[in-house]
């Protein structure tokens, strides 16, 4: 969410305010050309509701908003592969890499927040990149977006000179870019569509009334049931009980204009001022964009100098390079999770099954601010997971197994699986498949002073809790005591080392003991079933590790002292089963239990 992104649109009437008069914003407002905006509207190039999808700033009231900056192309003095960066405020975004050419074309766009007293000058840097030289900054320019947007020009596109960063700053090329302000109605419509898609479980683009109703209830909306029905019926023109997302989104957007349906941001939970539509829309849109990584340019760098390092570019091509405090923006590229394969010593892209992606999206888009939301959402998640659990326990679900294996053909090695495919009568049985003895050798099996990995997984390890908070777990409410729950004292683990074993859907879903010792206790903690995707973990609004359903075991080991072993359930996969219990002596590498589909 963008809880800090408050924008004061009321400042438009500040001509009598001495502070504002002195400000650049106030000077800008004097230059705003409303006539041009009106002229363009009169020309009829509208979207049918009297607004352009993208417009220039047209009135003094519009000066705060979302600017869409598009880097179109450049004309350089020599051939090379090119990429461009936009630095704005504290962040830098980049385009993809062009072909080997003198005239690279990117057509990359980025939404930037223009707010009162906020940044409004974007620096654009163009780098050459090839195998011989690392990314070299060749040229740069700066653009004042507020000035650009207020220009009285018929063209949204402008060509700027790129200057050599070294004196005497010769012109080394030109870059074409455009900038416009996103139309509030269009933003709202897109936003409504995104929200509605959360309950479009099968992604067929249609919604039933119960689904729509559930969603509104889950978001804590106080609109009367009759209003929901009224809205839904208006969209359902043929009365067949389902409407398309597009239709309903358009209707909701229009309704939102008249009488807001949402009283709080469903992403971060922040209360929305009824009278401040512009702020609300910007807030909502940016919250969602933060969540979905739905923009063309990639982000995550703090400065363009930082972005000039080749390895960072490589990493950010797929991976979410999480900078301090910028984690979610970059970590939110939900479909691009990259991990380092320890065995193969290379980066690999994680493939996620479509169904899981869908559930991730469903959870994630609504989940980021769930702590502040109506408990209906939590129940909804449980309900989804329980339903999925029942389905995955049914005989019919077995037919999904071949497709699942095909989807992850590079990551599921059936030669390692103990039983043949015919053995699995349900999807859940396959999900918790056992492996053949010996296919997961235990490192230094006789040496109890060597700890081993507890699962086939994506692992994050931190020497201290502080490191884990600084680098990975961004949830504001995270604490060791919160993780372990009230029945277990966290004193022994204060400032200890923390290791996170994240299982992806395709992984072998049984977990093993990392150390040898006695199981002192196992405590079940009820909770939510939020996703444990890095996207959620990286979000300051999510506290998945301390709010999710989990079981905490304490293993007493002679070589490592006490080790807290926390098995955390997640969306869909919310069932935790143990095969060992309190008082058992366990050997490292031995199976402890498994996760399966269910609530």
């Amino acid at each position: 969410g963008n809880g800090n992104s408050k924008i004061d649109s009321s400042s438009s009437s500040s001509s009598s305010d001495p502070d504002a008069e002195e400000s650049r914003i106030a000077r800008f407002k004097d230059r705003v050309h409303l006539r041009r905006f009106l002229r363009r509207r009169r020309k009829g190039t509208t979207n049918g509701r009297g607004f352009h999808s993208h417009t220039k700033l047209g009135s003094v009231e519009d000066f705060a908003g979302i600017a869409i900056l598009t880097l179109i192309r450049a004309r350089m003095n020599f051939k090379d592969k090119w990429l461009a960066c936009v630095s704005f405020g504290e962040q830098t975004f980049r385009t993809g890499i062009s072909d080997h050419t003198k005239e690279p074309a990117w057509n990359s766009e980025k939404k930037l927040l223009l707010e009162k007293d906020g940044p409004h000058i974007a620096r654009i840097s163009v780098f050459e990149t090839n195998r011989i030289s690392r990314n070299n900054l060749v040229g740069y320019c700066e653009i004042d977006l507020l000035e650009f947007l207020s220009q009285d020009s018929d063209s949204d596109t402008e060509e700027l000179e790129l200057l050599d960063p070294s004196p005497p700053n010769a012109v080394v090329g030109k870059i074409s870019l455009s900038c416009s302000v996103e139309d509030p109605i269009e933003t709202e419509k897109r936003f409504a569509k995104r929200i509605l898609s959360i309950v479009d479980y099968n992604e067929d683009g249609e919604l039933s009334f119960p689904e729509f109703s559930d969603l509104i209830d889950a978001f804590g909306n106080q609109v009367a049931a009759s209003k929901k029905e009224e809205l839904f019926k208006a969209a359902d023109k043929n009365g067949d009980g389902v409407v398309t997302l597009d239709e309903l989104a358009a209707l909701l957007a229009a309704q939102q204009e008249k009488e807001p349906l949402m009283n709080c941001c469903p992403v971060c939970g922040e209360a929305l001022e009824v009278s401040d539509k512009l702020n609300n829309m910007i807030h909502l849109t940016l919250c969602f964009d933060e969540g979905t990584g739905n923009q063309v340019m990639t982000g995550g760098f703090l400065t363009d100098k930082q972005a000039a390092y080749g390895w960072m570019f490589k990493l950010s091509e797929w991976a979410h390079f999480s900078s301090y405090d910028v984690g979610l923006n970059s970590g939110s590229s939900a479909s691009h999770i990259v991990v380092y394969d320890r065995q193969k010593k290379r980066l690999v892209e994680e493939i996620i099954d479509g169904k899981i992606v869908l559930s991730m999206r469903a959870i994630y888009q609504s989940k980021v601010g769930l702590t502040l939301m109506d408990k209906g959402v939590k129940e909804l998640l449980h309900s989804i997971s329980e339903k999925q659990g029942k389905r995955m326990d049914s005989v019919e679900s077995a037919k999904d197994i071949p497709h699942f294996i095909e989807s992850f053909k590079d990551q599921i090695n059936m030669n390692e699986v103990k039983h043949p495919l015919e053995y699995f009568k349900t999807f859940n049985e396959f999900f918790i498949r056992e492996l053949k003895p010996g296919v997961r050798p235990i490192a230094h099996v006789e040496c109890d002073d060597v700890a081993v990995c507890a699962a086939d997984c994506r692992l994050m390890a931190f020497k201290s809790i502080d490191d884990s908070l600084r680098l990975w777990i961004k949830g504001r409410k995270f604490s060791v005591q919160g993780l372990l729950g009230q029945d277990i004292s966290a004193r022994a683990f204060m400032d200890g080392s923390l290791v996170i074993f994240r299982l992806a859907p395709q992984d072998y879903h049984r977990f093993h003991f990392p150390v040898s010792g006695f199981i002192e206790q196992i405590v079940d903690i009820p909770g939510c079933l939020y996703t444990v995707n890095p996207i959620a973990v990286n979000s300051k609004y999510c506290n998945v590790f301390t709010e999710n359903k989990r079981s905490v075991s304490i293993i007493s080991s002679s070589d490592f002292g006490k080790v807290a072993f926390v098995a955390i359930g997640a969306t869909m996969v919310g069932s935790i089963t143990f095969r060992k219990g309190k008082g058992d002596y366990v050997k490292k590498g031995e199976e402890f239990g498994y996760f399966s589909f269910g609530g």
């Binding site: 060597v450 390890a461 490592f560 359930g569």
Partner: protein, 57 residues
């Protein structure tokens, strides 16, 4: 699903490659049973000089 293990302070020396990747916010793909780290007790033992190679001057 996720498993989190919390070790007592200074009880484990986690393998350096895992720490290095994590410090870059990069997850590491690992398998069950592969090495995670050493007990610090073990580390302190290996830090001791090999007495068989020691000689009195």
């Amino acid at each position: 699903s996720t498993v989190i293990c919390v070790f007592e302070k200074d009880s484990i020396q986690i393998d350096e490659d895992l720490l290095a990747n994590s410090s870059r916010s990069l997850e590491t793909l690992v398998r069950v049973g592969t090495k995670l780290g050493l007990s610090t007790r073990k580390v302190s033992q290996t830090d001791l000089p090999d007495v068989r190679r020691c000689a009195l001057d």
